[in-house]
């Protein structure tokens, strides 16, 4: 287990390094580089900009700038927002909860529904249900999340009036019920794509598990089919799904960003767009790096979780 942990940890560190290089390249692609937002300021002359460049060390070789930038990142100094001067990390911190709430809820929905569809599809292979689930998943994967959100708002809040059309809570009403009421539609919208993905993988994974020898043994023992599936198949089929949950993180974050935009949900995606609109590049860069770190961390945790549950992995 220790060897596995060390190996996996070093992989994550290398990945972190690569991600930071990509991030740094993007930062320098912005017009005007790190000083971009001052370029349009009429109070700044070219001389001022040149002097600032000198002072901030932006005329040093790129690799030195990179090391400097990465070192400050490591120390937790992610710069300050151009909008209100607050440290980037605390600005991001204020928006993390909303995004995690949305992502967590929709992932839970996706896992519950997707697992059920996947197992049923595998145990009733080539049935009408299985065919419908297959076609349904392909269509669901093709629907733009933001459009699905708009259609959802049109039907369920504008026509039927069942749920609010946006925001995380009604101002002046901080009750849990109010939060939940606002959470229903966006998390269902965000979960659609992931129900599709989850059910497809779960079907494959269940079919793999069913063909294993221990299932034959269980059947030979005379266990009922239901018990075989519930006790021996599902557990084993769910194992690779832990990894999938980690792998799906970036796409869930992408979905969360567009969902947050449509539902004016005050999370990281919304913050990212607002910051782009204000040319608030420190926050944009911060979110870019933060989301990548979140993804790397998520994958690491998923892999460790699988290793803990499944001895074949940590020993092999």
């Amino acid at each position: 287990m220790r060897g596995f942990l060390l190996n996996r940890l070093s992989q994550s560190l290398i990945l972190l390094l690569i991600v930071s290089v990509i991030g740094f390249v993007v930062l320098n692609l912005l017009p005007g580089g790190p000083l971009a937002q001052f370029g349009l300021d009429p109070g700044m002359t070219q001389d001022d900009l040149d002097r600032l460049k000198e002072q901030l060390g932006l005329n040093r070789p790129l690799w030195m700038q990179y090391l400097d930038w990465a070192w400050r990142l490591l120390q937790g100094d992610w710069g300050n927002s151009f909008r209100d001067g607050a440290p980037v990390l605390s600005v991001i911190g204020r928006h993390v909860f909303a995004t995690l709430l949305l992502m967590g809820t929709s992932t839970a929905i996706a896992i519950a529904i997707g697992t059920w569809i996947g197992i049923r599809g595998a145990t009733h292979r080539y049935s009408l249900f299985d065919h419908l689930a297959t076609v349904g998943a392909m269509v669901a994967l093709s629907i733009p999340t933001f459009w699905f959100g708009l259609v959802g708002i049109y039907i369920f809040s504008l026509k039927l009036g069942w749920v609010p059309a946006g925001n995380m809570y009604t101002i002046g009403d901080g009750s849990v019920l109010n939060y939940l009421h606002h959470l229903i539609l966006p998390s269902l919208v965000l979960s659609l794509v992931h129900v599709a993905i989850w059910s497809r993988y779960m079907r494959t994974s269940t079919l793999d598990a069913i063909s294993q020898d221990f299932v034959k043994t269980a059947r030979a023992k005379g266990l009922s089919e239901r018990r075989v599936i519930m006790k021996h198949v599902v557990g084993n089929a769910l194992l690779p799904m832990i990894t999938l949950a980690g792998v799906q993180l970036p796409s869930i974050l992408t979905g969360a960003l567009v969902t947050e935009t449509v539902f004016t949900w005050p999370g990281m995606g919304r913050l990212f767009l607002d910051s782009l609109g204000y040319s608030d590049y420190p926050v944009v860069m911060g979110l870019l790096m933060f989301s990548a770190i979140l993804v790397i961390l998520g994958n690491l945790i998923a892999d460790i979780a699988v290793a803990i549950v499944d001895p074949r992995i940590r020993l092999g």
Binding site: L150, L158, L253, F272
Partner: protein
Amino acid sequence: MTALVANTGPSRWWRSRTVRRFTSHHLALLGVAMIMLLTLACVFGPHLLPYDSLYIDLRARFSPPLTGDHYLGTDPLGRDLAARLLMAGRISLAVAFFAMLLSTLIGTLVGVIAGYRGGWIGAALMRTVDGFLSFPSIFLLLALAAALKPSPAMVTVIIAVTSWMEVARIVEAEVRSLREREFVLAGRMLGLSGAHIMFREILPNAMGPIIVAATLTVAHAILLEAYISFLGYGIQPPLASWGNMLEGAQQYLASAPWLAIIPGAAITIAVTSFNFIGDGLRDALDVRDDRV
């Protein structure tokens, strides 16, 4: 995959197993029909409609579908929605198609080199792939789109730059498994150059998975273009794309829902069709794939 190469010969390829399998895949055929229909409509449709896509008519603002000659209604400036939808389709489909070409090119190049060379070059390339995959694609796309002037060509490049990794992974795995096969060893013994072996000997045998991945990349690229244009950082007005037609639609959702529903339906139909075709090709070309 070898079947594909064997079947590209001149003799009755249309009766090959690959073609027979594809044509017995009903959803794939449906997809092909839809895409052909959409493409024809986008190419010839605008010439047949009574209104130009940029003709502003403030007297006809917010006409619902089927008012007069406005078959799909009009937008907040009174422009004909049908004409705009088809002109937007030209942009959206073209951007997606060229983004697919470019990203398949990048992905194949990276994948072949990483898979064939292996060693530290291969490791470095594949870790870079992992690095790109660690970013939520929309964050990277938006940051790049905000940084660079989003002309249609630039949007194409940006989408390609953020979506080549899947192809690279598939090609790398395929090439790595082919690297030790006899025909490659034979090539080496004949003294063929590395480039010749990589691109003339190995690559043709990996075409099946590449074609499937490329088809699915078109679907993905249509969605990505729609996302960034919807958020205002993709194709810029007055040029219409399916994504940016939806950009202002949310504020009129209560009064003019067709503004949101129609372009979104076009996106869904196009993306679904490409996903169906990809699925059919996967069956036909015998590509084993764990992806959805």
